[in-house]
Chain length 456, copies 2
């Protein structure tokens, strides 16, 4: 008989996952390789090692190792904020009057406020182990930059963050968290890099963009002795580290005899969704079980649902490798009124390939409906969710309402990636009734796709 299921499931220390799971090992058709942006030949270990740490390059390119033991130093850090709770959303079920059983894996109970810390600590660890002095990165709203600054502070690594200038000015609080953790935060574009100076000369007074910040961070690391660049999403290595989310979920659910029918996650670059679904997807790929997976993206930036599966640059500056992925084109700009994150033009190549093979569904949702779901969730479940996470909440609620209508007692699992404490300007817009939705026109999409590289 299954044990009585508590309201919140916390794994015991001895039950915690000891390894990350690499879902590519179980994919028959693997994701397409990264290509050199100039030669279009597959990126080599050597080429990638100029940008990333050695061990991370290995992880990035490794399609066959199924299990990566998590180093003890990372397990020790995980103890600070993991296990994250797997919560049964009793109050939400009651509010929705649904026979569905809803669970969520809550990753927001740490100072970075999101799941990003899972990969930040891994990347900082490998940088330290390699004897590096520091790392560079970019950040938009600041979630990833905060996580990385915490991780670097723990390992006493220098951390240089290029923060999109408009966020730097409008979101000073995340900047202060990073500074409190000892990171240096530079508004991008800046005069500290060639690419930054070039953009400043061309567009004086620009508020910057994520693409420009990436280019500055990559350039900065390449010119500093003992530095590498790190990235918080999209990459295979990041999905590998984030598999700890799904591993904990699976161990907890197995312990109590729970099997999810539907697994839902929000998807920007894919780090959270990929991490959450990996071990479940592995079972499906091995033919052991069947699940329904749903990626949820904003209607304003619909890479899976309205993009093209093609090789594209990972950055707007076109200096990073080409990746085959669902993309809106590196030149696509999501509407500036979009309040949440999930603004990346492309999608993890692993998730893109799984989606292309029909193993995963995708939906896009409009932001006012996302904030309405967020508010309803907050009032009954007590957690103020991040706008990103609330995309998953919205679809989980939709599915639970369908169950009410059909009478099906489905078990729904979704990823609650973080908290919305630094997103209250967006909540205010919603509370004031002035938030608007934006759906790109066919013309907007066509314009974005024209930025795709021409491949022979």
């Amino acid at each position: 008989m299954a044990k009585e299921i508590p309201y919140k499931i916390y794994l015991e220390e001895n039950e915690m996952p000891k390894y990350w799971y690499n879902v590519r090992a179980d994919m028959k058709k693997k994701p397409a390789p990264l290509l050199n942006p100039v030669t279009h030949a597959p990126m080599t270990h050597e080429e990638l090692s100029k940008v990333f740490c050695e061990e991370l390059v290995k992880q990035e390119l490794d399609e066959t190792t199924r299990e990566y033991p998590i180093p003890q130093e990372i397990l020790d850090f995980y103890k600070m904020y993991r296990p994250s709770p797997l919560v049964r959303a009793y109050c939400l079920e009651k509010k929705l009057n649904t026979p569905a059983k809803i669970y969520y894996k809550f990753e927001g109970n740490n100072t970075s406020g999101s799941h990003k810390l899972n990969s930040a600590i891994a990347q900082a660890y490998y940088a330290k182990k390699q004897g590096l002095k520091g790392v560079t990165t970019e950040t938009g709203a600041g979630q990833w930059g905060t996580a990385l600054s915490m991780a670097c502070s723990y390992f006493e690594l220098d951390c240089k963050v290029y923060m999109v200038k408009v966020s730097y000015e409008q979101k000073p609080f995340r900047r202060e968290v990073m500074r409190t953790y000892g990171a240096s935060v530079t508004p991008s574009p800046s005069d500290t890099t060639e690419v930054g100076r070039k953009i400043l000369a061309e567009f004086p007074g620009t508020g910057g963009s994520l693409g420009c910040a990436i280019s500055e961070a990559v350039e900065a690391s390449s010119k500093l002795d003992g530095y590498r660049y790190v990235l918080g999403s999209v990459l295979n290595q990041v999905l590998l580290h984030q598999s700890v989310i799904g591993m904990e979920c699976k161990i907890a659910m197995d312990k109590y005899g729970i099997t999810p029918d539907i697994i839902i996650g929000c998807a920007g670059g894919g780090s959270n969704l990929g991490g959450l679904i990996s071990p479940f997807m592995g079972e499906m790929l091995r033919g052991e079980k069947k699940y329904q997976f749903i990626a949820v993206e904003p209607a304003s930036c619909p890479s899976l649902t309205r993009g093209k599966y093609a090789y594209d640059y990972c950055d707007t500056g076109k200096v990073c490798p080409l990746q085959k992925m669902y993309t809106l084109g590196n030149g696509f700009m999501p509407a500036s009124n979009h309040a949440g994150g999930l603004r990346y033009h492309g999608m993890s190549s692993v998730l893109s390939e799984l989606y292309d093979q029909g193993l995963m569904e995708a939906r896009n949702v409009e932001q006012t409906s996302v904030f309405a779901a967020a508010e309803e969730f907050a009032r009954v479940e007590g957690i103020l969710p991040a706008p990103e996470s609330s995309h998953a909440i919205k679809v989980a609620m939709d599915e639970a309402i369908k169950c009410r209508e059909t009478g099906e007692e489905k078990t729904i699992l979704f990823g609650l990636t973080g908290t919305g404490y630094f997103d209250l300007v967006a909540y205010q817009k919603f509370n004031d009734g002035v938030m608007v939705d934006y759906i790109p026109t066919e013309e907007d999409l066509a314009k974005g796709l024209r930025s795709l590289p021409v491949m022979e």
Copy 2:
């Protein structure tokens, strides 16, 4: 043999406390009674019932019932965010190179960001049970208001918050959390009350004060049918509800055979410290064990360390009952540059009496040293602490450093009451090196004490 102690101790659901502990039941000399502000006669149940809910008045006046069973509805809500973890601060110990064992009880993992929710949900429950329509309260920085709005939303009670105007304008984020939970937030002073209109006429353009907001909230509840006023600290009932913190701590420590030598908490009105120490103090009052208790207050508002034990008004507007407490005088104004909370002129009468009997120590600390401790803690323990909580961190670190010097392996327990996500303006001041300390002069203190009521 004691069980192996995990990094973080979470109680199992069946181990959770089932009752609140009323420390007054074990005090031989009880706290002095509340007095009517006009007649100076002890406040009767009937008089208090005009302001507070019936059940809460009973709790306020009850000096003999040792254990109050926690109603099931409140236990259900507690499940959302309790148990709070009891954390062994291994990383901080290592950083300080101390033989001391440091534990902290972390109350910040909920959307209100602090322990305030423990009493908010209880007060909202009793208001609902009494069939009331809503409650009114005041809030300064917004921690209590946020907690109360969450609790009222859960029980579908109306919640009217009077927020000190300067905070309303300068801290819009907490206001938005309250609005997201459906509370109405009015900047105080306002034209919605007589006292507010009077103050506005006398001081046009004033930024308001907590004292004024209390007076407005009390007046508003008295004029609305089916409303009562609620308060987040100082009161006996609040300490009773907050005893859940100490109860969980004690159960967890007993389970693993841990006995704290020193128990430390920050003290503003006393809600957290009183809750944390209650069950331990009970053992000491019953002669079963000995502990060292330390209350930590800001040097800028040192009610225990530099105040007078006397009857005083609980509010600046002098409409609330008189309470015997350590006080700086209701007319005392802490320096406006003081960044944290803990700005109340007085102290819980229970804690005041325990302190007067020599059962508890008190220390005051300056805010730059508090923020330095906060930053050091954040970097090694991964949690960005609230400035209030960081007062306790500072003294816990001081005590651990003493152990390093003496070689004593003391066990230190402190209360980490909340997170600092809404206090980043203060962190910025600290990071920028422009934070200053303020210690009231003897003259400042004498001026405050002149506002004490004249008692026959």
